[in-house]
């Protein structure tokens, strides 16, 4: 029982982290065709926001609650800045957005190194998250449960935003047919900006969750970005349900491999599995059916 539940629970928590990181990517990659390699650095920005909040709001119990919206704003504004200054000039050149954002990621990482130092800073866990609960004989930390709840909340929030708000209607219209949406009076430019803001902001929230588990450090983003992209690729473009299933699958599968072998072998095997999976479904788990050529 233990050999099953331990990786299952730990993997679910990892999957939740991947989900938050991947949600923003799926939004910008799947819906706008922008491959944002600096997304990991937005995650890092969220983690540092959590750290800075704790320097100001010294009451640890409250600081995380302040950090969440603050991180959303900080990462969101970074994303908005990136969109307005660079990305706006290169829509429909997806591979170039990838390269440009690699450069931006390098800049942000070095900036973090210069401002906060190469060593990581600790983020203190609030008292109400410091503890664990016994699930099937396994001590499950509250922090992991918090991550999962946060991921589900982010997912629900994004889903509601897309489904029920007028902004959501506009973005769905833009995704389905950009030119037609524009003809119908949708300002696709502002839709792009808001999408990028929200997508990047989600990375900030993910960063707070990561900071509770591993603190902050300048290379924090690079740890998650590739796995998050694999999740988006495996899930299929523009499909939230695909992203959700892929995130938890990758998280749990990696946890099982880590348990049996080692964390590095797990990474290699998970990668291999994604390649094998793409053999069966080259467009990911769920695909938008179009009449276009593959």
């Amino acid at each position: 029982m233990d050999a099953l539940t331990t990786p299952l629970l730990a993997g679910t928590a990892t999957g939740a982290l991947l989900l938050i990181a991947a949600l923003g990517l799926a939004l910008t990659f799947g819906q706008m065709g922008v491959i944002n390699m600096a997304h990991g650095e937005f995650l890092m920005a969220g983690a540092y926001t959590a750290y800075l909040t704790q320097q100001v709001v010294t009451n640890t119990d409250l600081s995380i609650l302040v950090a969440l919206p603050a991180a959303f704003l900080v990462a969101g504004c970074l994303g908005l800045l990136l969109e307005v200054s660079i990305i706006a000039w290169m829509y429909r050149r997806p591979l170039d957005t990838l390269l440009v954002t690699v450069g931006v990621g390098l800049l942000l990482r070095q900036l973090a190194k210069d401002v906060f130092g190469a060593q990581g800073d600790p983020v203190h866990t609030p008292g109400w998250l410091d503890g664990n609960i016994l699930v099937f004989g396994y001590h499950w930390p509250y922090r992991q449960m918090f991550t999962i709840l946060l991921a589900l909340a982010a997912l629900a929030g994004l889903g509601a935003l897309l489904k029920y708000t007028s902004y959501g209607r506009r973005i769905r219209a833009t995704v389905q047919n950009r030119d037609l949406a524009e003809t119908m009076g949708v300002s696709t430019r502002s839709v792009d900006r808001v999408t990028f803001f929200v997508g990047s902001g989600l990375a900030g929230i993910g960063g707070v969750a990561v900071s509770l588990i591993s603190g902050t450090n300048p290379n924090l983003g690079t740890t998650y970005i590739i796995s998050a992209f694999l999740v988006v690729v495996a899930g299929g473009l523009g499909q939230l349900r695909g992203t959700v299933i892929a995130a938890f699958t990758v998280g749990i599968v990696t946890a099982f491999f880590t348990d049996w072998l080692s964390s590095s072998m797990a990474q290699v095997l998970t990668f291999a599995l994604v390649v094998v999976f793409l053999q069966a479904r080259p467009q990911g788990l769920f695909t938008v059916r179009t009449r276009g050529l593959a």
Binding site: F29, I35, I86, W89, M90, R93, P94, L95, D96, L98, L99, V100, V102, G103, V104, G105, L106, L107, R109, Q110, K113, D114, T222, I226, F229, L230, V233, S262, S264, M265, Q267, V268, F271, V274, V275, V276, L278, Q279, P282, L293, A294
Partner: protein, 357 residues
Amino acid sequence: MSSLRRWSRTWGPLLGIALVAIALLVVAPAVLSPFRLNNLGKYVCWAIAGVGIGLAWGRGGMLVMGQGVFFGLGGYAMAMHLKLEAAMATGGPAAIPDFMVLYGDATMPGWWEPFRSGTFTVFAIVALPAVVATVLGYAIFKRRVKGAYFAILSQALAVAFATLLIATIKQTGGFNGLNQFTQFFGYNLYDPVNKQMIYSIAAVVLVVCLLVVWQLYRSRFGELLVATRDAEERVRFLGHDPANVKLVAFVLAAVMASIGGALFAPITGIISPSDVDATASILLIAGVALGGRALLLGPALGAIAVGYGRTTLSESFPDQWTYFLGLLFVVVILFFPSGLGSAWSQITSRLRREGAA
């Protein structure tokens, strides 16, 4: 079209290759100190890999973000041989590398054994990446995985490879990699004459790679590759299989990266996971993007320039170098997507268009 222009279009590239050859093989050894020449040799190794990236990415449209893997396959294959040579030189034919004694129980994994043979090592440097690239490329291209999907998968490969190397410290030296070579196929590596010989080998290999790619670009295959990049579906409808075309370019690029890596190990005296991981792969891409990915000489010259900038700038400004590299990425991709090598023609054609309007 004037006959001069036609002449320059046919023979201009060859002239360019000749100039590169003269600069690397005649001028550089005459004017550079042995230390600088050895550094140049390092950039030449990156340039060899860069020529392959130019082929796969510039002409074939496959953004290979994990070339570090193939660079590493060649580099580690060579380093294993050099390590065994060094061990055998001091401890007889059954001696094993020092780090295995240090980290482990002084037993050598069986797959190291064939690398005692120099012939096998040279064979492996070409065959190993070819086999890996064929298997991977076949799996990926046949299922029409492309564009961003391909770029991300190839980068994930580099991350996984570096992680694997770091984890297997007893077999590969882990984070420290393989270093402290003394011999290169029987030649003493501390002798400056031999170091210059290895540099010359690297320079000749680069020139040969450029010639191979020049011939390829002139051939039907080169046309097919560009056609596949620009309109894969049309190529398919014309009865060709784009997957095979891409596979050939991908495998060639992998072999070139591997040979670059194999020469990198004796020139720098070390190969470690940081030479093959995602960042290293991105640095290779940076050189190619800077020089001009679709040009013949662009990738090679760009790689040498980035290598030079990396060494020179990081000597005097170790931290600011990263800012510089990041800005370079942003500025080049934003304003000169086809590289600095094309900047001039890009500016003149824009001026001409504005003049006509």
